[in-house]
Every structure is written in structure tokens, then in C-alpha cells.
């Protein structure tokens, strides 16, 4: 029963990912940790970090949550609910996009959703920062990672590995 409720939750959450998965992180955490208790806040952050570390879209963190709550079936069903329904919508719209996008109302929708997507993304950074940064050490690592990426075209994975080594050495 809870498996069904979880699939349904991830399905509607997947349709809230406007402007990338980051936008839906606050609500994903609220639903998974506070509302349904599928995992703890600490596990959520670790799961999100693992999802970042592993190849592919970050939103596969849904598979981690699903696995934590209901084992392998939960993990696979969660990934299915998160990725497949929006993909079907995308394929259908891609099919018809050329005719839709010339219309005035489509431009209005485009100009409305783009900034909302960006705002959701920025809110997601805030939420994640609040759970991951709790002292000067973690704040320092975040700033160093930001500077590394902003100043040089380093691959993000190299920054992540360096931060992991720093955490391992100095904590």
C-alpha cells in the first residue's frame, strides 16, 4: 500500500521538476522525510550525494529513497515513476512542438515557466545548503568547490573527489 503511495508521490513530484531536478528537492525532502518517514534527513542528504556521485540524472535519488523504504522493487518503481511519465509527455510534445511554439499563448507559458524554474532551482540550493553546511569546515569546502568550478573548467567529479578526500583527512 505504501509502495503505491510512494510511486504516486514520485510521479507527481516528477511533474514538479521544472527547471531541473534541483527545484523539487525541497518538496522531495519534505515528502520523504517529514511527511512519510521513508528515510531520515541525514540519509536523504547522503542519498543525494550518492546520486550526484554516480552517473546520470540527479533525480535518480528517487531510486535510493525507494530502495530505503521498500527494497529493490521500491527502488526500481521509484525510478520508473520519476522518469517515465514525464518522458512520455516530452516525447509527445517534441512531436508537436513546431506547431505549438509559434502561438502567442505558448510564448506566454514559456516566459512564465522559465523564471519559475530558475527560482525553484535557487530555492533548492538554499535547502541543500542548510542540511549540508553546519560548521566552518563544511562552509569552507563549499566555498572552495564553488571557486574551483567558477575560476577553472575543472570537471565537477574532480571537485567532488577532492572534497571527499579533504573530509576524510581532516575530520
Amino acid at each position: 500500500m505504501d509502495l503505491l503511495r510512494m510511486s504516486w508521490t514520485f510521479l507527481w513530484l516528477s511533474f514538479l521538476c521544472i527547471g531541473g531536478g534541483l527545484g523539487v528537492i525541497p518538496e522531495l525532502e519534505r515528502q520523504s522525510v517529514t511527511v512519510h518517514h521513508w528515510l531520515t534527513a541525514r540519509e536523504f542528504l547522503d542519498g543525494y550525494t550518492l546520486a550526484q556521485l554516480t552517473p546520470g540524472p540527479n533525480m535518480k535519488v528517487a531510486a535510493f529513497i525507494g530502495y530505503r523504504a521498500h527494497g529493490l522493487a521500491g527502488g526500481l518503481l521509484a525510478a520508473f515513476a520519476m522518469f517515465v511519465p514525464p518522458a512520455i509527455v516530452t516525447a509527445v510534445v517534441a512531436h508537436r512542438w513546431r506547431r505549438i511554439r509559434g502561438r502567442a499563448w505558448a510564448m506566454a507559458v514559456e516566459r512564465t515557466l522559465a523564471p519559475i524554474g530558475i527560482g525553484l532551482m535557487a530555492g533548492g540550493v538554499y535547502t541543500l545548503a542548510r542540511s549540508a553546511i553546519h560548521d566552518t569546515f563544511t562552509a569552507g569546502i563549499a566555498v572552495a568547490a564553488a571557486l574551483a568550478l567558477a575560476l577553472r573548467p575543472v570537471p565537477p567529479i574532480a571537485v567532488m573527489l577532492a572534497a571527499g578526500i579533504a573530509g576524510w583527512l581532516f575530520r
Binding site: F15, G21, I116, L120, A145, W168
Partner: protein, 187 residues
């Protein structure tokens, strides 16, 4: 523009997925499909990028679906999605098994703390780049800022924030009668 077979498409999309450690980003697809293989024009790529950002759903997989559809129809879209998502999900589940059994020793826990903090720095910079590229008009800045504050510091439920911001944005952007009289292309 050459059109790859399904097997070739699946292989290339799987490779893009596997190479996108640290969070999938559209730039990986641009590099693989436009710069290296010339399967798509810049214009076609940018159109699909817009589609994937506007439509609901995880951006990176939606972009894969739109590009896969353009290259090989619905079958291409399906192959693109599976190739991009499935390898990462399998790897993540394998790590989840180890993590949740407490198989990571305290050193791994400290490493995870460090990486969790680094993620914040990385996504802050990536988001700043998207903000710089995507927010031009004052109205867009206000809408984005209000949305960010509502879901971030205020912690309001995302559904209501999206509904409210969409209503305001559509009301302000909706085509007026004078604009509606201009030709629209197809009926």
C-alpha cells in the same frame, strides 16, 4: 545531418550518461551530439533544450528524450531514456545496499560530509550561470526571486508556489487583444 541506428544511439546516450558524474548537464549532450558527431545542428539542439526546460520532469532525461525523438522517433526516445537513466540507477542501488547496511566505515562518512558540502558549492555556481543566461527582464527576475524565497527560506509547499507564481506570470504575460490579432502561422 546523419541519422544513427538505434544501437548506435543507445550506445552514445549510455556513454553520455556514464560520463556525466556529478550531475547531468546539457553541455555533455551538446559536446557528444553536435560538436563531436554532427548528428544535430546547434539550432535543433537549442530547440530541444528549450523543450526539456519548459516541460515538467527531470531536465537531463527530458533532454535525452527530446534529442532521441528527433534522431529516431518514439523508439529513439525510449532507447535514449533507458540508456541515460538505467546504468546510473543500477550503480546507485548497488551503493545504496552498501550504504544502508552500514558498510561505509566512519572514514567514508567523513568523506561523504565533505562531498555533500562540495555539492552545494558546485550547484551554486551552476545555478548562477543559468541565472545569468536565463534572467534578462525585470519581471522574470522578480518572479524567480519570489519563487526562490517561497520554496527556500519560507519553506512553502512547492505545488502551491508553482501554482501561485504561474497564475501571476501568465496573467502578466498573456497575449493582449492587439497582439492576438497578429498572424500566428498555422491555425
Amino acid at each position: 545531418m546523419t541519422h544513427p541506428g538505434l544501437a548506435r544511439l543507445t550506445a552514445v546516450f549510455a556513454w553520455v550518461g556514464l560520463a556525466s558524474l556529478g550531475g547531468g548537464r546539457s553541455a555533455y549532450f551538446h559536446d557528444a551530439l553536435v560538436t563531436r558527431r554532427r548528428w544535430l545542428s546547434d539550432e535543433a539542439f537549442l530547440q530541444d533544450l528549450a523543450i526539456s526546460q519548459i516541460l515538467p520532469g527531470p531536465n537531463f532525461s527530458n533532454l535525452a528524450v527530446a534529442l532521441g525523438f528527433r534522431l529516431a522517433g518514439f523508439a529513439g526516445a525510449a532507447c535514449a531514456l533507458v540508456a541515460l537513466v538505467l546504468p546510473g540507477v543500477v550503480i546507485l542501488l548497488a551503493l545504496a545496499v552498501v550504504y544502508l547496511r552500514g558498510g561505509f566505515n566512519p572514514a567514508a562518512g567523513s568523506a561523504m560530509h565533505g562531498m555533500g558540502a562540495a555539492v552545494v558549492g558546485l550547484i551554486a555556481v551552476m545555478s548562477a550561470r543559468i541565472i545569468r543566461a536565463g534572467l534578462r527582464e525585470r519581471l522574470a527576475v522578480l518572479l524567480a526571486a519570489a519563487t526562490a524565497i517561497a520554496v527556500g527560506p519560507l519553506g512553502l509547499p512547492t505545488v502551491w508556489v508553482i501554482a501561485g507564481a504561474s497564475a501571476v506570470g501568465l496573467w502578466l504575460h498573456w497575449p493582449r487583444a492587439s497582439e492576438a490579432l497578429t498572424p500566428r502561422g498555422s491555425p
